[in-house]
Structures are given as C-alpha cells and as structure tokens.
Symmetry: C3
Subunit: 218 residues, 3 copies
C-alpha cells in the first residue's frame, strides 16, 4: 500500500455524492426524465468511473458494490437533486461545480488506486483521467450528447494534472490527505479558471484554416 | 451455492433467446440494418446484460462465452427474427413481449447469480436490474435511441421487483424453480400492466410546473 | 501457449498505431474536436478493442496498460494524425485504409489471444471480431454515429474470416507469422474489395419489399 485508506475513501465518497447530484440535475434539465430515469442516470454518473477503474485493475466485484456507502450516497444524491431541482435558480451553475468536484476527487483516487494495484506511472495517470471522466462520459452517451471530454480540452487536462500530481507525490513518498487535497484542488482550479476565461486547447490546423473544406467523404 | 443451477439456466437461456429475437426485430424495424447488423444487434441484446453481470462479479470469461447454448441461441433468435420479420404483422407488439420476457428472466438470474458470487442484498438487487436492462441499453445506445430504462419508469421498476423477490426468497431459503418463476412473473405482469394502462413514474417537480422555464444553460 | 508471442505482438502494435491514426483523423474530420478530444478519440479507437478482449478473458489489468508500447503508439498515432491532417488531401481514403489495417490485425490477435486463454473455437472467433470492431464501435458511439459494424455487412464479415482462418491454423498446428499475416491479408482484401465494388450483405426481406410499411409502432 502506497497510500493511507482514509483520504482516498473520503475523497471517493465526496466525488460519488457530487456526481450523483450532478448526473441527476443534468437528467432533470437536459432530458426531462422521470424519477427512475433521474436516479438511474445519477447512479451511473456516480459509480461509472469507479466501475471502469476497478474492471481495468481486475478488482472485482468493484469496491462501489461491496461498500454500501458508495451506492447509498449515489442514490441519495440523485434523489436530493430530483427533489431540490425546482428550487435551484441557477441549476446550470450547480451542475458545473458538482461535476468539477467529482472530476477532481476521482482523478486523485483513480490514480492512487491504480498505483496501489501495481500499474506504472503513465497507466496510473491515464486511469486517473478515465476514472474522473468515465461516469460523465457514459451519462452523456446515454442521453445522446457528445461527451464533455471530447468537446472541451479543458476537461481532460485538469484531470490529467490532478492525477499526475497524485502520482508524483506517491512516488516521492509524501502522499497523504494534504497531498491528495492539493492534487484535487489543482484540478478544480484549472477547470474552473478554464471555464471562467473560456480557455480551450488548440484546435486541429485544418479546422483553423477554414470550415468550407470539410467534405462528406468520411 | 444458494440456488439450484437448473431454474437459473433454463430462465437464462429463455431470456437469451427472447432478447436475441427482440434485438433483431428492433434492428429490422428501427434502424433497417442488413443481416449482419441484425444478427450483431440481436446478439448484443441477448448477451450484453450477462456480460456486464459476469464482469461485475469477476466471473470471467463470462458464462455466455463458455457455454455454447448461450451464443447459439442468441444468434439463432436473431436469424429467426430476420427471416420472419416480413410475416409479423404486429412486429411492435412482438418486440414488447419478447423484451419483457428477457427483462423478467434476466432480473431473476442476475440477482441470483450476484448472491451466489457473495454480493450483499442491495448490490444483488442492483445487479439483477443491470443484467435485465443492460443488453437493451447497449442496443438502444448503438442505434442512437435514449435507452428505455431512462425514458420509462416502468421499465426499471418491474426488474427491481423481480430481483427483490428473488433475493427475498433466497434469503428465506425457499428459492427454487417455483420461486424463480414467481419472481419473473411478477416482473412480467407489472411491466405489461404498466404498458397497457400507460402508468408512469413521477416526473421531476420542475417538469410538472411547466416547460417554458427550461433554458439552454446546461 | 498455442502461438508464438512475436507475430501476435507485432500485429497488435501495428493495429494499435493504425487505429490511433484512424480514430484521430476521423475526429478531426467528422467531429472537429480540439487536440485533447482528437487524442482521446484516437486512443479509445486504438485501445478499446483490446480492453474488451482482455476484460472478456479476465486478463486484467489489460495488456495494453501493462506494456508501455501500446499506449505510447496509440497516443503517438493520434498526435501525428492531428499534425498531418492539414496536409492529407484524401483524408477519407487514409481513414479507410488505416481502419482496415486495424480491423485485420486485431481480428487475428483477438482470436489467437482468446484461444490462448482457453476459449473454444466459436467464442474465440467471436472475440476476434469483437476485438477488431470494438474500438471503432466505441468511437462511433461517442461521436453519435451508428457504428460501421451495424451499418455495413462487409465490416464484420472480413473480421470473421480473418478470425476463422486464425483459429483454423492454430487448430491445425500451423499458426505462426506466415499464417497470421495470411489471415490478416484475407480480412484486408475482402474489406477493400467490398468497399471498391460496393458489395453488401442481404437486407431484411421487409426493407426490400418497400419502405412505406415502416410505421412508428416500435
């Protein structure tokens, strides 16, 4: 074990609850689903990233099915979001903040869990990103939206930074609650600043050159 | 083992065949695919839920790849549906009934298999639902439809009832072929009654209040 | 082990690089993503089929996360495609050829790996097809296109032939680099000839009969 269980678990549960709220609010707003659809989508958003991580490291059944706190928090978050959605005047803002909390915590716990499972530095960072964006990507695909990770460069990049800081602190032997919180905060700040100032990753040269050359030959 | 293998296997094979037919009929009707696409979609519908279940409990390779009856029945169902689709005057009705048979049988076998694998009561019920709706959800996503489990509250709820009855009878020590059939019948009846009388789960408060408040700020 | 590791690895790395290029070019052309989205889609296309294969045979973590050459080649292919896309006058043609290279190599390595893992003849062929079409299917679904494997009969069929030839040569005890290349070449030629001459698999009888009978009762 290269990490203490406590910061990992606390961050993981925070992210699960935030993603449960987030997925449910998005379901209420974007797809206008009934209560079952809202809860299903909230739970998928909250548990999907951890499922993919645990499948990839071969830790099955996934921890989120073995520990009742995960699926209970995911369902609870979704139900609260369903009940409160009427009173949220700026629901779009809440969706964004909750999504960024989930992204930040899961990038850290995903990378840390992958290292614990014996993966190397680069795959651990990769798996941190996948854990962070996985649940939201499944959610977006199910409601027929292009996933945020593909549309916005400043979605995967903050997760990559959070996962990389996590892996670096583990390798330097200083990983613990402060380091985990710092890595999550780095991810959170980059994502929120990117949204506020409309920063984006470079587009393909061809797209910059002009849109008129895009034929239908694909 | 908390269950006899026979009722499990018989129900599982029935569901596999029904979902193979169902997925193929839906492919013929909704997406107008060629014979390969129809068979692929039929097999994904039939085998997808079991794949997810076996991945989640770490029973790999999945039972549906180890036992020739599963993939043969899935492919056979899809080919029969492809050949017969011309003669089915009420193909929409057939799709619904076959889907409900698959839903009912997989909810029971999914929950029962999850208990056998050592999962707790709540995760076993959850995995029963996932096994029941998983194949159809992959199918819907591939042909770009919002999955039924998100659109209709009375799709996940019957599966939840079937899985819960299964888990209850296992816990009480009375699980066997009659209990399994009873659990599947409960799921089947709730789903069919819900469809007939147009029952639905509650919608979000906001949606009930009016549609004009839905901005584009998501 | 029924196969030497060398031909398997060389083919697998070739397919990974080709699919990395292919997924990225498609992302540039079809969905106009930024550099992060292009790399993510290239890596998903390159690594997705192998992920599904390794999950199905229970070989976790997947080989593509344990061996640095896989994810490095996938990312490198995607970055090269991003940089070169401006200079490719016939980008559609390049996408098709690269896709067929990935399809051919992964059909062979998928089937061969499945046999090594102890699966029977039919599931090994099935898993060869899934490995070949899996990454592209995830890619298509994420950018909201109906996957090629469903739309075009002559996409799964060449992969099926490549996988079947592989399994046959392993069973006859003559599998090795020449046999693997032959199986991949068979897949490649059938796919390219099918595209050139516009061959397609049979459509459902109902579709042939006329489009006006398609109601909205699904």
């Amino acid at each position: 074990m290269t990490s203490e269980p406590t910061p990992l678990l606390a961050l993981d549960l925070t992210g699960t609850f935030a993603f449960g709220l987030n997925g449910a609010l998005l379901a209420v707003r974007a797809a206008r689903l009934d209560v079952v659809g809202v809860v299903v989508l909230g739970m998928i958003t909250a548990l999907g990233g951890g499922f993919i991580r645990d499948v990839m490291i071969g830790s099955l059944p996934p921890s989120t099915l073995l520990d009742w706190r995960y699926y209970t928090l995911a369902a609870l978050g979704a139900l609260i979001a369903f009940a409160l959605s009427r009173h949220l005047r700026r629901i779009g803002k809440a969706i964004t903040v909750l999504d960024t909390i989930g992204l930040s915590t899961f990038a850290v716990t995903g990378a840390s869990t992958a290292l614990d499972a014996g993966l190397g530095v680069a795959p651990a960072i990769l798996l941190g990103v996948v854990t962070a964006v996985g649940g939201g990507t499944i959610r977006d695909t199910l409601v027929r939206q292009i996933p945020t990770v593909l549309r916005s460069g400043l979605y995967a990049v903050p997760a990559l930074v959070g996962a990389a800081v996590t892996v670096a602190t583990v390798e330097m032997g200083v990983y613990g609650l402060p380091a985990a919180l710092g890595a999550a905060a780095a991810c959170f700040l980059i994502r929120m600043l990117g949204l506020r100032y409309g920063l984006n990753a470079p587009e393909p040269p061809e797209t910059r050159r002009g849109k008129e050359s895009h034929g239908a030959d694909v």
